[in-house]
Amino acid sequence: MKPIEPLLTVASPPHVHCGRTFKGMTLETILALMPAAIMAVWHFGLPAARVMLLSCAVAVLTEAVCWKAIKRRSAVDDGTAVLIGLFYAFLLPASAPWWLVVSGAAASIILGKMIFGGNGGNPLGAALVGWTTCRISWGTFMDPYTTMLDSPLRAPLHELHYFGLQAVSDISATNMLLGEQIGGLGAAQSGAILLGGLYLLSRRIIRPEIPVAFIGGIALAALVFQLTGDGTNASATFHLIGGGTLFGAFFLATDPAPSPVLPVPMIAYGLMGGILTMLIRQYGMYPDAVPFALLLAQLATPLLERIAPKPFGTGRVKA
């Protein structure tokens, strides 16, 4: 198939028509992230604010330069660059050095978004691409646990991964919900993230299928591990509110471009992400496996979207 040249179109998808603009949706998503951002500054202080601001600034700047480079009308004002910058910052430890923030935010925008010609074309979540690029390059700087050993806070998922269930039995759910845990600086603010997610759901900016299926996948896998394991596996609740699980469910997984658009594929995608997260936590080397699991699920999106209803009176849809 030939790439569709712009005959009449003036912008890449997604196109929303109902008085609601794409820019508006992006701004509301940023608004939904604010409680978590405030909680992050509350817990980690100015370093967290520094990481978030720097990341957003670099993301916007990189995107503006990229639009110039590919000689297209800039769409940097739609706010997605800020959102991607914020997503990336949310996954970082508060102690991240400046060069890590800069290179990761730039990688997110360039490799995750702009090489696909801007928003809507990217087959993978932009911030996820940036985060994984840095994670495999500078593992020790990216890992919240190893970089923040002097913090009085606990790192539930890491301690579970390295020391087992016994070591984390004294971490209370309330603490984790309040964000009193080490993880991605914003991603670990489970309670605030949950609030933001519910806001997005109530405003119908995201559909409930993906978050529900993702959480369902995590819970299901955790239950299976608990029932078949030898009592050393943590409960579903622990896995859900520990680390950045909820951030993945409500924000990273529901990124409009790389996620499916039909209900059944959405559920399959969410389940796949959740189950893969648990598999990597159990058998892999990453304690908080959400970004990797979501990347894998997004790779499968085009295949999952083939599970489409058959239009009445025609043959099978050619996807």
């Binding site: 060069w99 840095c134 495999i136 390059s137 500078w138 700087f141």
Partner: protein, 224 residues
């Protein structure tokens, strides 16, 4: 003389093997972790490509066309075994580094592709120039890519430190994803350069050369 030069020099820029012809990608991706390895692999390919062109061209009138592919494979494979033995004897560390990709030179599209498309139709002198030119182009490209990845991935170049002291190596570049992304970006840069040149001449921008397995001429020729 001028045609001889033309056949030689086309491999250096116009038909630069991995970047313009987009052929033989496996070694390009696999052995370019460092500039040293890229250069070593490049030299091995120059040896095999030039000599296989020479032998194929020498024997082109004797070889019956029905078994020509089989003959080309035997010639290329013998040369590859030669390289393997020589490398083990004189450059053992390089042999350890390149590993499985030394024997795999035999299935590099460039070798059989040039034998089929050029050497079996041209004189020995021309075939030598063609093989040498493309081989040198291939070696230069591999060294370039290796230098790029080594500089950022290890902070060294040909084993010598080149980055500032606080530099944290960008390991992404030497891992598999970095190999793919780097090669993709270099290809895109080549395309952008072409389009810029076309733009200066007032021509429309075009897509870059398509990678096509069939381009090597081998794939669609049955071995009969």
């Amino acid at each position: 003389m001028s045609t001889l030069w033309k056949e030689f020099s086309k491999g250096l820029w116009r038909d630069l093997p991995p970047f313009r012809l987009v052929l033989g990608l496996c070694p390009v991706l696999a052995v370019t972790k460092t500039a040293d390895n890229g250069l070593g692999m490049g030299l091995a390919v120059i040896f095999v490509l030039t000599l296989s062109n020479v032998f194929v061209s020498l024997l082109r009138n004797i070889i019956p066309s029905k078994v020509r592919i089989a003959c080309f494979i035997v010639i290329a494979a013998s040369l590859v075994v030669c390289v393997e033995l020589l490398m083990q004897a004189f450059a053992y560390p390089l042999y350890q580094q390149l590993g499985i990709f030394v024997p795999l030179i035999v299935v590099n599209c460039i070798i059989l592709g040039r034998a089929e498309a050029f050497a079996s139709k041209n004189t020995v002198l021309m075939s030598t120039a063609d093989g040498l030119g493309l081989g040198i182009g291939f070696a230069l490209s591999l060294t370039f890519l290796g230098a790029l990845r080594e500089t950022f991935g290890y902070g060294t170049l040909f084993g010598k430190s080149v980055m500032w002291s606080g530099f944290e190596p960008f390991t992404f570049m030497i891992e598999a994803p970095g190999a793919f992304v780097c090669l993709g970006l270099v290809l895109a840069a080549m395309n952008a350069l072409t389009n810029w040149q076309r733009g200066v001449k007032g021509l429309e921008a075009v897509e870059g050369p398509k990678h096509d397995c069939k381009a090597c001429g081998m794939c669609n020729t049955p071995l009969k």
